[in-house]
Symmetry: D2
Subunit: 335 residues, 4 copies
Amino acid sequence: MIILLKNQADQKQVDNLSSWLKSMGFDIHMSVGASQTIMGLIGDTSRLDIDVIKSLEIVENVQRVQEPYKNANRKFHAQDTVVSVNDEVKIGGGHFEIIAGPCSVETEEQIVYVAQRVKAAGAKLLRGGAFKPRTSPYAFQGLHEEGIRLLLLAKKETGLPIVTEIMDVNHLPLFEDVDVIQVGARNMQNFELLKELGQIRKPILLKRGLANTIQEWLMSAEYIMAGGNEQVILCERGIRTFETATRNTLDLAAVPVLRRLTHLPVIVDPSHATGYAHLVKPMALAATVAGADGLMIEVHNDPPHALSDGAQSLTPDAFDDVAKSVFAVRPYACR
Amino acid sequence: MIILLKNQADQKQVDNLSSWLKSMGFDIHMSVGASQTIMGLIGDTSRLDIDVIKSLEIVENVQRVQEPYKNANRKFHAQDTVVSVNDEVKIGGGHFEIIAGPCSVETEEQIVYVAQRVKAAGAKLLRGGAFKPRTSPYAFQGLHEEGIRLLLLAKKETGLPIVTEIMDVNHLPLFEDVDVIQVGARNMQNFELLKELGQIRKPILLKRGLANTIQEWLMSAEYIMAGGNEQVILCERGIRTFETATRNTLDLAAVPVLRRLTHLPVIVDPSHATGYAHLVKPMALAATVAGADGLMIEVHNDPPHALSDGAQSLTPDAFDDVAKSVFAVRPYACR
Amino acid sequence: MIILLKNQADQKQVDNLSSWLKSMGFDIHMSVGASQTIMGLIGDTSRLDIDVIKSLEIVENVQRVQEPYKNANRKFHAQDTVVSVNDEVKIGGGHFEIIAGPCSVETEEQIVYVAQRVKAAGAKLLRGGAFKPRTSPYAFQGLHEEGIRLLLLAKKETGLPIVTEIMDVNHLPLFEDVDVIQVGARNMQNFELLKELGQIRKPILLKRGLANTIQEWLMSAEYIMAGGNEQVILCERGIRTFETATRNTLDLAAVPVLRRLTHLPVIVDPSHATGYAHLVKPMALAATVAGADGLMIEVHNDPPHALSDGAQSLTPDAFDDVAKSVFAVRPYACR
Amino acid sequence: MIILLKNQADQKQVDNLSSWLKSMGFDIHMSVGASQTIMGLIGDTSRLDIDVIKSLEIVENVQRVQEPYKNANRKFHAQDTVVSVNDEVKIGGGHFEIIAGPCSVETEEQIVYVAQRVKAAGAKLLRGGAFKPRTSPYAFQGLHEEGIRLLLLAKKETGLPIVTEIMDVNHLPLFEDVDVIQVGARNMQNFELLKELGQIRKPILLKRGLANTIQEWLMSAEYIMAGGNEQVILCERGIRTFETATRNTLDLAAVPVLRRLTHLPVIVDPSHATGYAHLVKPMALAATVAGADGLMIEVHNDPPHALSDGAQSLTPDAFDDVAKSVFAVRPYACR
């Protein structure tokens, strides 16, 4: 960390700051110029609140040299992390897969049918919501325990591992047979939940919050990894901007940006990112060539009658076409 | 809800839509124009997913006529809600109060001293974080149970009711003697937590999420109220924009906007909204005359050494000045 | 346009509104329901200010049925517009081309060399700034007239038509031999400039403003087209959000969104959108498969010493690789 | 400027960078630490492109120490600038005034009547648009030359100096008798226009662009001041965010932020910032106590029939009330 002092900084105040920082275990490297004095801090500054330093009277500005995340940082872990689901399906490190399924699990018939169709089209994981975060308390909230039961039934029928969202630490026992646990955008900074998920040994699919920076997202992955669970998949699903023509704005550049910053796999959800079925295919292809390690796509047997997010779901036939196009373009992906 | 059909809508499809909506209990009012057919839905459309309707092939556009929140809606509850804390302190309906205290509870000495000072300056509630949502897993996370114990001690010393943040449903038993439970910005859409808080009978201070619209915020209040807990205080604390000169962008117009939409009290937190101590006073005064029902202000005995958010904390002396100015300007507030 | 009246709307006021609208040449279609009265306006409402109607006391809400742009609207012009540059190079309607060159024209040697290299790599148009919009008055502002002279020289050497930005109506005479005139993001709503460009008969490359919606962008195209110049190319170059890891946030979904709304060609500038050379390739590939009609890419012989935007420029060698990859993936593009 | 070099920076490359910077006239102060080498640049770095330096292979990060604006910078000009209009009306340095009038000048009767009313209520300057920047080419664009004639007539009748917006450098001769020239939000970065306005000696009211940072805004003021015209008034009028309940989001904290950064006066336009008449009063009061040097408020004799921005205009009666409240609260303003 580099601390830039004000020109008129009083020597006694400088000494005080220096002593305080040393007392916290940092080595200080002072560089006194004609017009500017700079303090370089050596040590683990991830514990230090940059805003506190900035607020000091004698400080002009502060700059972090190191990123505040470590476990997720590619600098300390050059090789790609490959997330392995039941030793069957791999994501990351050159492994690219599609996760598909309905927004919400509704009936046995629905989830089994969709599972069979997406499997036939090449998807390797089944998604489906049992606990649904809905803006309105009056909207359909998911089938809960019954939803997970139906997902497991579809898994039994098709062999596809399942991905489903957790909304509360207390529901964790219900997720025992779930293969990948999803943390939704609204819970990306539910730190208590993240800590708990750090204690288990199961892949976590961590969606980006709709107003969170890439760095904050990595810090949330760090919460999980700090607990010892290193199986984290990042999922870009659009951020909130002033544009209203789409539900969110897909920040596709996040994929190559993350490739440099972290070794964790990054997938893209074009369904939530755009909110419209007709935008899923172009954004799925774009994400693939931009170097994503996978896609998460909503597929529903009957989108107009879906109990949630019907507008953005593909029919199984439309998904066939998208998957085929994605696999065709995959060899051209950027790494 | 008004549904605008496409010009070329097939009569059979229109009939199907109409039947489906009727089966869901709505009355339909059709208006067939030369160039446009409009369906008016009468009934409780808060349960209906607007995006599903929009996604139908024959639909051009859909517009809600009613707001999707009811309990929080001023239309159905013209009179201001007055939130009463222990029958001692009132907020809303003409009652204006200041909540003040440190970002984090650190020591007994600190919290008691700050409590005494803010009380002397005119604050009627004491704030202090025991559970701290921190972006980094390596940053100070609060004293937890011990923090609440110290807050209660400060309450005993000063008589000030206490406000503190909850981060996990499972911590609820620890909050038994807490007077007002705060839901932080990052948990504004932690719906499972909101549902639980709807089951208790204690005032809830609901902060706005940093990328949430005013309507989403009211829907989160609705989650609490739908459970039967009508004691909700809304707290504007800045939204996230492209501007980097301040920590967040204080959306002060939200105060008069909410005044029309809801009967719930609205307070403003100028400390988190701006992130800098020197901006707290001008924004506190501005919020007061804009018609806020109260303020929430960070005060620390020694801001440069605060364990969190030191940059935005006022010293007790600075708070004296702010409180005095706020009370002086309060008679000129807009209603 | 659909006007929703308030429940308690006074009949006399309704009649007044109705008369006023009729006096402006609209046909009114009234639909009186039990709980809601709706007025449908038939006629050209693009001239009507939606905010004025909304502000009327008896009006609950207003909704446009028609988009407020006509010349640019695909509804009235189903076939793709193909912009033809000197009857040599075509963009749109299945024609895909790359525009490449340095941010600023610096020297004859530089521009001729870059032109030769980008031509060899497959680019069909040469870009280069002669007038540079710079945030700081102290930064390099371009070579102006001399810059255009050098561009024309490079054109003569290579045969590549040239694209360069105009910043002031008064400079128009200098652009006589320029093949495509660019309007930069900061001038997207410089309406006086747009009007003038509507009077000439030369392709206009209209960049999206950094905080403008897709609809506003089309309205700016409409300004040019309303003057009779229908040769408009839209260029997505990133919007401004809270994310700071990239210079802007590339809104790639704008490409398929625009495909539905307009018949005009849409190209993407991954250099300005991201601000970093290493992000240009993944975003160029992504834009291509998402269905863009072309790309605009910054190439500089010596990026570290470029007088502007060096950080985002590719070397000629890096551009060779990008162009090759783009052409390889182009057959898989979404339409 | 502080340049942080990468750990593995090659000595030859460091020397090259150093020589290059020296050749540009900078003094270099090297500070070689165990783990980090830092270069301090002494000299006028406002001419240096920070992004170019950042893009160099051996550079880890760069930080500006000095703000890139000088004329507008309070550091070099501690005393408040007082803008004087015709030696009659003063803004800044403790002088607070209200500018009021209709969005567009429509008729002689209208502008004279509104001028008389706002004067009676205490406004000291009359605003009115003759050239109107409208999103749609089909919307009312203002009366142009005739509009200015009518404004001058109202000035003659009431003695109020006039403020009106310029949209094109070529219209400058028409503004000879205009007292204050306004640059609208969409032209905040129309640099050619700013340069021309730097050549005249008349106060310029510079509105903030809807997606521009405070620093960019000051850089635009710098464009005017670099030409020698130091009479610049900054006007905050809302920025663009995801919130749709208001037209824009008023960034009121910009007022105290600017107070520290610049000596220029700062006023607030609550009408454009919010877009709704009922929000003007609370935001006008808020801006006043936050320390603004003035307000700009839209007033129309007949808002529902205004040719532009009727929704946000106050009636003269409503303005009487706002002005009275503003003057009452003004003594409590923060400085």
